[in-house]
Structures are given as C-alpha cells and as structure tokens.
C-alpha cells in the first residue's frame, strides 16, 4: 500500500479490540515518530504520557465522557504541554543542541538570543497555546506513523482537561493536557472504520495561486 492508501485505510476508530495488544516494536516505532516530529525551533515543549495501565485508563475514561476507546485501546497517548516555558528552559535547550552536535555553546549564542527573544515576547498563556499547537504537529505525525504501520490511532478532544491533568498528576509535573489519541486495533465490528470517509473535495479544500 502507498502512504496515501494507508491514510485512506486509517479511520476514527471508536471500537477497539481490547484483546489485541501492541507489540514493543510497534510502540517503539510510534515513539520514534513522535520524537522525530518537528516543532518550533525544535523546542519540543511538550511531553507525551503513554498510558497502558488498566486502572489509570479506567479513571481517564470516567473524565473522558466515558468513551470506550480510552480503556479498550492498547495505549492512550496523552500529549501535554509544559506550563513553564521560560528562559531557563530555552537555555537548557541550547545545552542540548551544543551537546548533540558537539559544538561550543558560545557558537549558538545568536540562536539562543532568537529563542529567548521569542519566549520573552509572549505571555505564559500565549506560550502554552503555542506549545499545544506544536503538540498537534506531533499528533499528525503519530497518526501518519500509525497508518504506515497498520496500527489504528484515533485523536480525541472530548475530555475534561483539568480532570485529565488531575488523574495523571500533570500539574505537579508542570504539564497540562493538549490532546489525546487512542492507539490499538479496530474491532471487527467497529462501524466507523466501515463507513465511507468524508472529505471535502480538492476543488474546495485547495486554492492554487
């Protein structure tokens, strides 16, 4: 299957087969894809909580409009933005760049100033909103990687953000939930994956100049 055919195969699965587990290799590929997703300046100002524990999934389902895919999927990916994206965070990122590329930290001073300038020009609220959007890029890459592997992945925005943060202890970790995705395998009788996919025609979606 081509990548496009794989994207056609993917669906917003609502009914997962709870007996089908994801292999360690499949999970690691998905983590690699998320890790490789680009973000503004490369900051990756989010973390991803991968929930496989049944009890935690039960608690999340209770604050996620009781949606069965939260418990029946093999893993729930919870994208969460950092809540403090400050100078110290920017400087630590430059440390990581220097270390990864084995370059003198001083040679990155210009890059550091650009990043710190951006961070300092925004309010905390703006930075978290910005960071949520970066998490959505990573979500798009996760969904693509899952389709490539033949693993089902359904993004979800229907959950109580504050209560998700509470169940996962995110506030204490300096995090807040951005968006979630249920990852696993569709049940044979999942009706959503059997429906014809609805998409706007290209003539409507694209404007060519």
């Amino acid at each position: 299957m081509s990548f496009i055919e794989k994207l056609q195969w993917r669906a917003a699965v609502k009914k997962f087969d709870p007996t089908k587990k994801i292999t360690a290799t499949q999970l690691d590929s998905l983590l690699s894809a998320v890790q490789l997703a680009p973000s503004s300046y490369g900051l990756q100002s989010y973390k991803v909580i991968v929930v496989q524990d049944a009890k935690t999934k039960e608690k999340l389902r209770a604050v996620g409009y009781n949606q069965p895919q939260i418990t029946d999927s093999a893993a729930l990916f919870v994208f969460a933005s950092l809540t403090t994206i400050d100078e110290a965070f920017g400087k630590k990122f430059i440390d990581l760049v220097a270390q990864t590329r084995s370059v003198e930290r001083e040679s990155l001073e210009g890059y550091e100033q650009v990043i710190l300038g951006t961070l300092n020009s925004r309010t905390d609220e703006q930075k978290v909103a910005w960071s949520h959007k970066q998490a959505y890029i990573a979500l798009g890459v996760l969904l693509s990687a899952a389709a490539d592997l033949g693993v089902d992945a359904g993004p979800m925005e229907g959950f109580d953000q504050e209560k998700f943060d509470e169940v996962l202890g995110l506030k204490e970790k300096g995090l807040t939930t951005s968006v979630i995705a249920a990852v696993g395998f569709r049940a044979d009788d999942d009706k959503y994956s059997q429906m014809i996919k609805v998409r706007r025609p290209k003539e409507e979606l694209f404007i060519h100049i």
Copy 2:
C-alpha cells in the same frame, strides 16, 4: 527506507534548490495526504493555499522576514482557518456527510446536534484557535507525506499573519493564515539538513504509566 528512517532524513531545510520543481504527481500526493488528514468531527474548517506563482511568493517573502525558502521552494503551502465557523457551516458539513455516504439527512440529526452544540458553545475567537490546531494536524500529515515521498517540507511560523492574509486576499475569502510550509528540494549546500538532528531523548519526552 522505513517511515522512521524517512522522518530521520527529513530536515528543516532553509536553502531550497530553486531549479528543482515538484512534479504534478508528487504535488497531487501531498494534496491527497492533506485532504485525508483527520480533523475534529471531520469538519476541515480550513483551506490550504498552494502558492507556486513567483510574484506572489516574492510578495509573501517580503512579509515573511525575507526568508529565502518562501521564494526558492517549489510551492508554499499556506494553511488558513475559516473565520466564520457557524451553524450554517455545520449544517453544510452534514449535507456533505449525507451526500458522501448516501444516507438520509434525517439519520444524521443526532450528529448534527452534537456539532452545532459544540459550535454554539464557543466564541468566534475560540473557534478560530481550535481550527488553527486542526490545521496543525494537517501540517503534521503533510510533513509526514513529504518525507515519505522524499520531498522536503519545512514548517514556518515566522511571518506577519495580517500581511500574509492581505497579500493572499484571505480576509475577503473568510480566511486567516494558520501556519505555512515550504515544499520542494534541498540545495546540495543546505547546511541545516547536514546538521545532526536534535531531539530530546525518549526517557525525557515520554512518561509511561
């Protein structure tokens, strides 16, 4: 190359080779990927302006911090959110669902009420912010599809949103720019694609529960 290897190959290309054009087949694959990207309720409350016209790209570069990839890339993808996401929009979407799946419109009434309820519970500003996030999922899918095809694609947030809207006449079209991506082929001497990719280690990025 596996999909993960392709994501490793991809880079935030800054210097494109302006002589390398994208083929119609490659471009159509990218458009198909963006079209297939999921969005909340499937609403696709955005459009994508694909700019290949040299003069328009020049004008956009002038309001995009003079970044050369705006003019040197083969195509600039401008994701733009609708500015009016109202009941009429929600109802037209249900028309599309009924038509695509050849079902009675009445059978979709429950789904329609859920969508209209969500739309009516949010301010215009909240809806546009929400829609921008959906565009970022499509951006993530575009970047994935480009990597799969061996086409370079670099997302960019550094541009003057209001002036982008002005150059592209988006306000009159009921649109506002979300995020952009330069698509094309890296120049042999693009230094960014030759650098070691910086990513946070998995132990830092992921929390397993």
